[in-house]
């Protein structure tokens, strides 16, 4: 049992996170406080949801890089629609954002499943189409806090758990945590307890076999990319509520590589079919801690980019090295 645990990537990642947290705490005791943890959860929930979306795509052997474009499209369309209609309703915002996301995901799925194209290539194109269309048809102007419907601000401030600091002021755990938890449980349930979930693994493991076994591959792919779009839609609204500002150029540039880095360091195989939800979440934690504490080690925030790239290359290398070692053990000498 224990030895099996040590064969898993997640175990190592867990220990790395522990060691790193310990190191950071020594340098800065305020790191390991409940308040800081709550803050981290709030600011990184959105990224975690995107990571889960990307991970589900990878499982089916598809690298979908359109999620940042979808997230911003969902967000910007939702906020503009709410302002135009003069409605101040959070559920409606989620509904619009998620609907936009799902529809865009379905567009991806259409091209990927109909012509059996590489998801990476398809989404490289569609993400530009989505974002370009957003700027052309919906607008380019940022919506600042003043014009923002109240519901977003309220959502951003809503806590599910409130604690008091020694001086009597309050802090709390954001409602984002609940949303994230909901997405985790939903994804976990789909992947492990539904035939649909197994069909995602099956398609990612062996496309031909999945077809012969009688899985409805088209439906599976529509679900996968629709789900990625749906989750991106959720993230769009969360992101807006967090920063209380909607700029149609946000997310697109910033989130893509962070998310890929997190999923890859979490041990999911970039070529698909393999990986765990736990690993993905640990990967997100790893990335967040790393980014937040670069300054602490005395490095400027310009190092972010450097480190994200490093993590991707490192993560992929580790996974490949492991499978190469496995091959060697089976006397396979292909590279």
């Amino acid at each position: 049992m224990i030895s099996k645990l040590f064969q898993r990537n997640e175990t190592y990642l867990f220990f790395v996170i522990m060691a790193f947290s310990f190191f950071v705490t020594v340098m800065n005791p305020s790191f390991l406080t409940v308040e800081n943890m709550f803050d981290l959860v709030k600011s990184s929930s959105g990224m975690a949801i995107l990571a889960i979306a990307f991970f589900v795509g990878l499982l089916s052997r598809g690298i979908d890089i359109s999620f940042p474009a979808i997230a911003i499209a969902g967000q910007y369309i939702a906020v503009n629609a709410l302002i135009a209609m003069g409605v101040d309703s959070l559920p409606l915002a989620f509904l619009i954002s998620c609907a936009v996301g799902t529809a865009m995901g379905a567009t991806n799925a259409f091209f990927i499943s109909s012509f059996r194209m590489q998801a990476l290539i398809v989404t490289l194109g569609t993400s530009n189409i989505f974002h370009g269309a957003l700027l052309v048809f919906v607008g380019t102007r940022a919506i600042n806090t003043g014009k923002l419907p109240h519901c977003f601000k309220a959502f951003g401030h809503m806590n599910v758990l409130t604690l008091a600091r020694p001086d009597g002021t309050l802090y709390g755990l954001s409602v984002f945590a609940v949303l994230l938890l909901f997405v985790i449980i939903l994804t976990w349930f789909i992947l492990n307890h539904t035939l649909l979930g197994k069909s995602i693994y099956a398609v990612g493991g062996n496309y031909e076999s999945a077809k012969r076994a009688g899985f409805n591959i088209k439906r599976t792919l529509f679900f996968v990319y629709g789900y990625i779009g749906f989750l991106s839609g959720i993230m769009g609204v969360m992101h807006l509520s967090l920063i209380r500002y909607s700029n149609p150029n946000y997310i697109v540039d910033t989130e893509l590589l962070r998310v890929i880095a997190a999923v890859v360091i979490g041990g999911a195989r970039i070529t698909g079919g393999s990986g765990t939800l736990t690993g993905t979440l640990l990967g997100v934690i790893m990335m967040v801690i790393l980014e937040k504490n670069l300054v602490l080690i005395g490095l400027s925030s310009y190092w972010h980019q450097f480190f994200i790239g490093l993590v991707i290359v490192l993560g992929v290398s580790i996974t490949y090295y492991q499978s190469k070692r496995q091959n060697r053990r089976n006397l396979l000498f292909t590279d």
Binding site: L195, K198, A202, G214, S274
Partner: protein
């Protein structure tokens, strides 16, 4: 369901019983783009029978299987199951009638567990939405118990051996109430011991009343397992036979339409004065092989046989620079060498034909010409280091002609060739270089008889030209027929070295490899 019903039709019977066969296919014809793949082929499989379907590559076996499996539709002809008409339009209709096809690639999901692989198909068929882990495990356990097999249910299939994967595929077939399991060349990728295991599984299936249609072109296996044999050649059925009524020569003749006799191999100018081309002294790699001492002379074909795990492949890889030995010496042409990479091996004149030609021997998506040129690309360069088109053409067409590679053009991808032709491309690749030592690991695995014969001739030509050949093979008859010296390995050690293969029996070698008691008589 109604297996006892008497047929009103007059049927061509193999056995002469009175029961309706489980499956009858009658006068099936199928053409692709004007090429007649099947021409009036009939086959009849009794419930619970072990039926072999034999024919060379391209003889139409796979087409018939696909028709039975509902993947292709016949142009003419009909099928019956238990005497009732059966016209499958989709794969699932055949599956519902109890027909399960296990393709060569097994169609498993490497990234899922054994339990999931076994049980998922059943869930799809039942159109379940949810997956209960407990039920998955139960189903898998039950199906495994049915054929008295054991397997770690939680292991991912990618970590299993080939033969275990086969067990998983067969077990999966059982979960869908299989009455007939069609196995498409199941033994092409497994070793002798694993074949024996597979056969015991097939026998257990028979006891359950499940018929097996075993597609193969390996003679030894056919005689070991089959009750009935149907032979097909060039899309036309040659006939149905009881296995007892056939022998090697007759079956070979019926399959290929030609008599294939092979004389034992004797090296030219076999003088004792020769200095050894290759000599290994106390070569050891821990966990792989220990204290290997052997030599190869020019013109030798040294056979190495042994079970999987005997260290034969590991040793071969060491000679090609891929699996470095811990200690001992490799002496090539009198000089000790250390071969640290495959590139170095090639430079020293060592060639290696890997067991898995698809994965390691060929660039399968590249053209045949590119593959042939791969090892000698340096020789066709012009002064500007560009590839000379004229030279290239000359070399390509020379080898395609010399080795009788059947292709319309060297520009076709290697994947378009049959197994035998692919292997010839791999051989051409090495023939084009100046080899001193050629190591072949399972050179005829998965290749049909006529091509096999051809490949053996090519190997002999190598040896006659003075190349030292090491041929590793599972098939003891192959080693005895085509090698002048044989080494038997077991558990990483050389168990026996046979200098003169004349009169040595297959059983004797097999017993050595499997470490059974061997009499001192030889």
């Amino acid at each position: 369901m109604c297996q006892g019903v008497l047929s009103l039709l007059i049927m061509e019977k193999i056995g002469g019983g009175t029961l309706v066969p489980f499956l009858e296919a009658e006068k099936i014809s199928k053409a692709f783009d004007g090429v007649q793949a099947l021409d009036n082929v009939s086959i009849s499989i009794d419930a619970g029978a072990i039926h072999c379907f034999v024919g060379e590559n391209g003889s139409g076996k796979s087409t018939l299987i696909k028709i039975i499996g509902g993947i292709l539709r016949p142009d003419t002809g009909q099928m019956r199951i238990n005497g009732r008409p059966f016209t499958p339009g989709r794969a699932i209709e055949s599956i519902r009638q109890g027909i399960q096809i296990i393709y060569q690639d097994l169609a498993l999901f490497p990234n899922l567990t054994v339990a999931e692989n076994i049980s998922l198909n059943q869930l799809i068929e039942k159109r379940n939405k949810l997956v209960s882990r407990k039920k998955l495990i139960q189903t898998a356990k039950k199906a495994l118990a049915e054929i008295e097999e054991e397997c770690d249910l939680f292991e991912k299939v990618e970590n299993l051996s080939m033969s275990k994967r086969q067990v998983v595929a067969i077990t999966r077939a059982l979960t869908q109430n299989a009455r007939l399991i069609i196995m498409d060349e199941p033994t092409s990728a497994i070793t002798k011991a694993e074949v024996d295991h597979l056969f015991s599984v097939i026998t257990r299936l028979k006891q359950k009343g499940i018929a097996t249609l075993f597609v193969s072109h390996k003679l030894g296996e056919i005689f070991e397992i089959a009750e009935n044999v149907s032979i097909i050649r060039d899309g036309v059925k040659v006939g149905d036979y009881k296995a007892e009524a056939l022998d090697d020569r007759k079956l070979t003749f019926l399959m290929t339409g030609q008599e294939i006799v092979s004389k034992p191999y004797l090296p030219k100018g076999n003088g004792p004065s020769q200095s050894h081309l290759l000599e290994l002294t106390n070569l050891t790699r821990k966990g792989h092989y220990q204290n290997v001492n052997l030599f190869v002379n020019q013109g030798d074909i040294l056979g190495i046989t042994g079970l999987i795990g005997s260290g034969r492949t590991e040793l071969a890889l060491s000679l090609f620079g891929l699996n470095r030995p811990d200690s001992g010496e490799i002496i090539l042409e009198g000089k000790p060498v250390s071969i640290r990479s495959s590139r170095e091996a090639v430079r020293l004149g060592v060639g290696y034909l890997p067991e898995d030609r698809l994965l390691q021997g060929l660039a399968i998506e590249k053209s045949i010409g590119d593959n042939i040129l791969a090892t000698i690309v340096g020789k066709v360069l012009t002064r500007l280091r560009l590839i000379s088109g004229e030279q290239r053409k000359r070399i390509e067409s020379k080898w395609i002609k010399d080795l009788d590679i059947k292709t319309p053009s060297p520009a076709m991808p290697a994947s378009s060739l049959s197994g035998g032709n692919q292997q010839r491309v791999v051989l051409a690749k090495w023939l084009a270089t100046d080899l001193k030592l050629f190591i072949l690991d399972g050179p005829t695995i998965g290749i049909d008889i006529a091509s096999k014969n051809n490949i053996h001739h090519i190997i002999r030509d190598f040896a006659h030209r003075g190349v030292g050949v090491i041929m590793i093979s599972d098939e003891i008859p192959e080693v005895l027929q085509h090698c002048n010296r044989v080494i038997v390995m077991r558990e990483g050690r050389i168990e026996a070295e046979i200098e003169d293969v004349q009169g040595v029996s297959e059983e004797y070698i097999f017993d050595l490899a499997a470490a059974k008691k061997v009499g001192q008589g030889m």
